[in-house]
């Protein structure tokens, strides 16, 4: 009973959609022959409890892979199948707006994260505690909440939504050292509960702690897929070769 199944997934970005932007030039810089193929035949399966670390240089296709699994992009070739809800930190803070009260922002955010009203009610005390907000703050406009607390609130909501396939692109933790440890512990506990995590990060420390396997992407191709330690080593070697 796999939670994520990718079979020969290709994603090509036609240049006509924003071809001339600096951003696209940056994103395609690392690819062989300036190809527009962001993913070139990626296949993998992830079971409940798996934590996949997705590693690669800028433009390697990490964010595109996550977007394909999340459902933002439809693959041009191949097949993507997931079980249950997808989301998590990739949708962190969705629907937050300065003119909304904290309560309204949490309700809208919960909706976008796929949480039911009951789930929000159950998660509310923990979320507010993690964000460092008291119950009285619920009536405040979001723009009166300082940025670090807003960020922690967004993070806590995203983790509390606990989708079956949890996705994190770059950011895996917020706050100071203690809080960051608590964040990683929360992610570990999600995996322990049978959720599948896909985490795009190049940070070896995070990969060693969280990942049960690592996927190294290079110009949209699978360069390595296997054990974490070997994956980190492979990526370092790849980076040395190309730098």
């Amino acid at each position: 009973m796999d939670n994520v199944v990718l079979t020969d997934v290709h994603k090509i970005f036609p240049r006509r959609y924003g071809a001339a932007t600096v951003r696209q030039q940056q994103m395609t810089r690392g690819r062989a022959s300036g190809s527009d193929e962001a993913l070139a035949g990626v296949s993998l399966t992830l079971a409940p409890g798996d934590v996949l670390g997705v590693v690669g240089r800028r433009g390697a296709g990490r964010s595109t892979l996550l977007s394909v699994v999340q459902g933002l992009y439809r693959p041009d070739r191949g097949e993507v199948m997931v079980r249950g809800r997808t989301g998590g930190l990739v949708s962190m803070g969705a629907g937050f707006a300065g003119y909304l009260s904290v309560e309204s922002a949490m309700q809208i955010n919960a909706g976008f994260l796929g949480m039911t009203r009951d789930q929000l009610e159950r998660a509310r005390p923990d979320v507010l505690e993690f964000a460092g907000l008291g119950g009285a703050a619920l009536g405040f406009p979001m723009r009166e909440i300082d940025a670090p607390r807003r960020r922690r609130l967004a993070y806590a909501m995203a983790v509390a939504s606990a989708p079956n396939v949890f996705l994190a692109d770059g950011l895996v933790a917020v706050g100071g050292e203690d809080e960051r440890n608590a964040c990683l512990a929360r992610l570990e506990s999600l995996a322990g509960d049978g959720h599948t995590l896909v985490v795009a990060t190049n940070r070896a420390q995070v990969l060693r702690r969280l990942a049960t396997k690592v996927l190294v992407l290079d110009a949209g191709h699978v360069s390595f897929l296997g054990r974490t330690a070997a994956g980190i080593k492979h990526f370092k070697k790849l980076r040395r070769q190309t730098d």
């Binding site: 970005f13 459902g71 992009y73 079980r83 989301g87 909706g111």
Partner: protein, 290 residues
């Protein structure tokens, strides 16, 4: 994409469930509509009073210029009621269409980062405009009662049907405009032209019979009457203006109603086809043109 013998529970994540999912998540749609209203009124001192001030101001302008200065109030009985019932209906269309046109570009962060049925954003704008219709309709009802309003069930049904048709048409056209807007920024200008036309190509301030009187019963009159916004105005008038006058205007020809409904269905289907075709490209475009 190749067909697959998917294991139970596995699904393609890019299939967001469409309109069925919007209905399932109707609470979220409602919350978005409410938040759009909050954004509009945030920080204003008069708050919800603006819901009354804006339509009443427009009404006064039309009434004074067209009714009194140009003397049209002598031609149409209960002219203030006639204008107001048409005006609030067209305003619902214009507000909804304007909102839906920028629904994706103004919410680019959401579209880029969250997989949800995209239809939800234009629908929220239509819902917001429908809710905003409340205060003007209260004013309308008070005026109707003062003028000896005695509606029957058919008349009220006409209003409900008219508003439903306009809402559906606004949603469909808004979806088409919203998707286009992501790729072609001229869309907002085109929508500006459409909304200007909507004010004059619907019988807000003049009796609709002027059109067949001037152009005959040919193609122009048929197209004029088949406009779903015009049909919505007919519905509202049937409920609120018609029961207050001794001699109303001729009813809407049935073939115009059928044509208007067909136009609405075609526009909604077109919107859905465009969204299905460009859903991925929209995310890409909104990511790369920031």
């Amino acid at each position: 994409m190749a067909a697959t013998d998917a294991a139970p529970g596995l699904r393609a994540p890019w299939r967001t469930g469409g309109i069925v999912e919007v209905w399932r998540q109707r609470r979220l749609t409602w919350l978005i509509a409410k938040s759009q209203r909050s954004r509009r009124l945030y920080g204003t001192r008069l708050g919800r009073l603006w819901d009354y001030i804006n339509p009443l101001t427009q009404f006064m302008v039309y009434f004074v210029v067209i009714g009194i200065l140009l003397g049209l109030q002598r031609t149409v009985e209960n002219f203030p009621l006639y204008i107001f019932s048409g005006l609030v209906t067209v305003q619902m269309f214009i507000g909804g269409l304007n909102g839906a046109t920028t629904a994706f570009t103004k919410n680019r962060l959401l579209v880029r980062r969250v997989a949800f049925p995209r239809q939800m954003l234009p629908i929220a704008h239509v819902v917001r405009e429908f809710v905003s219709l409340g205060p003007p309709v209260v004013v309308l009802l008070i005026a109707c009662v003062l003028l000896g309003w005695s509606p029957d069930a058919t008349a009220l049904l006409a209003a409900v049907g008219g508003l439903a048709l306009i809402s559906l048409f606004t949603y469909g056209l808004g979806l088409v405009a919203g998707v286009s807007m992501v790729f072609v920024r001229d869309t907002s200008q085109v929508v500006g032209v459409i909304t200007t036309l909507a004010r004059w190509a619907t019988p807000i301030i003049y009796p609709w019979t002027l059109v067949p009187d001037r152009f005959g019963d040919g193609l122009i009159t048929t197209l004029y009457l088949a406009n779903p916004v015009t049909i919505g105005v007919f519905g509202m008038r049937e409920a609120f203006w018609h029961p207050t006058v001794d001699e109303g205007l001729p009813p809407l020809p049935p073939e115009a109603l059928v044509l208007g409904m067909t136009v609405t269905v075609v526009v909604v289907v077109l919107g859905h086809l465009m969204l299905a075709r460009y859903q991925s490209a929209m995310v890409q475009r909104l990511r790369w043109t920031t």
